[in-house]
């Protein structure tokens, strides 16, 4: 206790700060960093949960990079990202931009857009899976058949399965993005718009020169957030394709589903850990690249 009494006020503050920080630091170390480190170590080992772990060096990574399924899955993951993120941002911005101007039943409409975000992804995936079924049970195909249009294969095609899964995933995320965009729009000072009006600037120019540049922090946040979401897509794919996980012919399989399959069907934990490390690296690189690109523009 004497030791504490001899400290200066500044030092005492540091002691107090660290004693409060110790709880989250300890929590993150035990719950996050230690398992992450464990996964990296495991990726150099072979382990089926039952036998002892054995070191295999880079074998898991070699196997991964020479596996054609991995490259297929890698491509799928980026298709989810490259279609999903821009599409969802454009749609949500368009909705938010117009919704911001609507005063009639504003709160109700906003709540309606937000509803899908609150729904369980599993329940939603199963509902959409039913929508996509062929005649006689599928909603979409029953409508098509009733007006004499041939059925669409939706989930049962290597071409249309991925977009069919992506559609509800984009839709489910819209509510959140709309709310964030609207908050961003509301934070733009109205004086800019008044000045533009006085100068007689067209609405397109206002959008391009005022609204979008000032929304940059919001856009950065949403791009990073939604990219991570699409890179980690799992619930929708897993639940909509349980009969042929990630199928047909791996056309919808994302990386997370491959990890799940390797870990809990093949019980090849080392190989699954190697895939996890690759996913982690991809997420890290994509996030850093996006932050870097977006940050440059901020200082224009």
């Amino acid at each position: 206790m004497n030791f504490y009494r001899n400290l200066s006020i500044k030092q005492k503050q540091v002691v107090w700060a660290w004693s409060f920080l110790a709880i989250p630091v300890l929590f993150y170390t035990v719950i996050r960093f230690y398992p992450t480190f464990g996964a990296v170590v495991l990726s150099f080992q072979e382990w089926n949960l039952l036998s002892d772990k054995s070191w295999v060096g880079l074998e898991n990574y070699q196997k991964l990079f020479s596996d054609p399924v991995f490259w297929k899955v890698f491509k799928n993951t980026f298709v989810y990202l490259l279609i999903g993120t821009p599409l969802s941002l454009v749609i949500s911005f368009a909705i938010a931009y117009h919704l911001d101007k609507v005063t009639f039943m504003h709160a109700t409409i906003r709540a309606l857009y937000f509803l899908p975000f609150m729904t369980s992804a599993v329940a939603m995936a199963w509902l959409w899976r039913w929508f996509y079924q062929p005649v006689p049970i599928g909603l979409f195909n029953n409508i098509l058949a009733s007006i004499g249009i041939p059925q669409l294969p939706f989930l049962n095609s290597t071409f249309s399965a991925l977009p069919s899964i992506l559609a509800p995933a984009v839709w489910a995320g819209l509510g959140f993005q709309i709310i964030i965009f609207m908050a961003g729009l509301r934070s733009i000072p109205t004086s800019y718009y008044e000045a533009a009006e006085i100068d007689g600037v067209g609405s397109w120019t206002v959008l391009r020169e005022i609204t979008i540049p000032l929304l940059k922090p919001t856009i950065v946040f949403l791009v990073v957030f939604s990219s991570i979401g699409f890179l980690r897509i799992f619930d929708q794919v897993f639940n909509m394709t349980t009969n042929d996980p990630g199928g047909p012919l791996n056309s919808t399989k994302p990386l997370v589903l491959m990890i799940y399959d390797t870990a809990f069907n093949a019980f090849d934990m080392g190989y699954a850990a190697a895939q996890t490390v690759v996913l982690f690296t991809i997420l890290l690189i994509v996030s850093l690249v996006q932050l870097f690109i977006m940050r440059e523009r901020k200082y224009d």
Binding site: N48, L49, L50, S51, R129, W130, Q133, P134, V135, P136, I137, N141, A145, G148, P150, Q151, L155, N156, S157, T158, N243, D244, P245, G247, P248, L249, D261, F264, N265, A266, F267
Partner: protein, 417 residues
Amino acid sequence: MKIWKKNLTGFALGAGLALGATASQAVEIEYWQYFFEARVNAMDTLIEMFEAENPDITVKQTTFPYADYRTKVAAAIPAGEGPDVVQLFYGWLNDYVEAELITPLPLDVFPLEQIRAEFFPMVQAMEKDGQYMALPTAVRSLALFYNTRLFEEAGIDGPPTTLDELVEIATALTKTDASGNITQVGIATGMNAQDHHWWREVLVRQMGGEPYTGDYQTVTYNNDAGVAALQFYADLQMTHGATLAGFMDEPQAAFKAGRAGMLIDGSFRIGALDKTRGLEWAVTELPAGPDGMRSNYSSYWVNAITTKAEGEKAEAAALFLAFITTDAAMQIWLDTVGELPAKPSAALTEQNSNDPVFGPFIRGLAYAHTTTFVNESAQRQVLMDAMQRMLLEDQSATDSMAVAADAEQAILDDYYD
């Protein structure tokens, strides 16, 4: 003070009694299986009977949801936290034996020759180096379910007994709407369900082939027999239009909804179909091949003693395992769960083999094969993909079979190397 004294005397007395009766000390063993109500009830009944016979042994049953069971068991047993007697799927056993987590069944309670003679032949897969590693109470096999109402409606007298009749009847039972969309399938199919077993152990053999070498380490279906079997299966949809992959999401869903004339499924489906109101169904043996050959696929869950059970716990575990593999226990399991007895002496009783529902499954056991899987879902995926390549990418059966054989061999090699 008085109470304290009383307790002490009681304790001393109890301890004295316990010491005096070392031979019959109470032993508690733990039993694990996955949660399925009928199975839990059947096991409760068996435990009650066992404890009545062996008053010094108590058995504690613990269950887990099916989805978590494999992971839970795999995490608990190596950590020494698991059960003394555990129920495992036969396909998992190898990994447990290799990791030395399973004790071979003691020969004094389970004499080798007697076990070999008493159980159905496919249970011999549980024998390693002259000892049995585990034993099933019940086994499952496949049969052909058919919707009697749809059969009657179409004027068909009885179920198919050959593959040709199967095609003919399935075609007759299929219905389409005005624009040609299928609204009722003759036979509900899906490699993701039980059809991959039907294809592997039944169709390939009926076309004159063997799916694997005897040790199940080498694929041997990439030949005329395999191609013929795949072509036959694909033709049900592609040529005869008597089925549709993914029709009503799952084959058993189509059958349950009365939208499928036939379905090949396991004995474990009986319970669910029994509960479906308005569905009239019957069961028959799987159709015979072109030369009259019959085959079937059988799978089972086994009971094994873990290395955690030592000393008197091991003895108690062995006694318990012996009890739940008696003919009487198997009959209780059949009556409660609907799974078939693992011994001919219990299965082929007059009453069981003439049972209209269980009979076809039980008769199937006599000629059933059990595939030794290394990763069932991956090996199933190989056949699902083989079908999808034909249906979605117009690949020929010959090419698709070759790709599938390579893919499955790679899975087997990866495991056995």
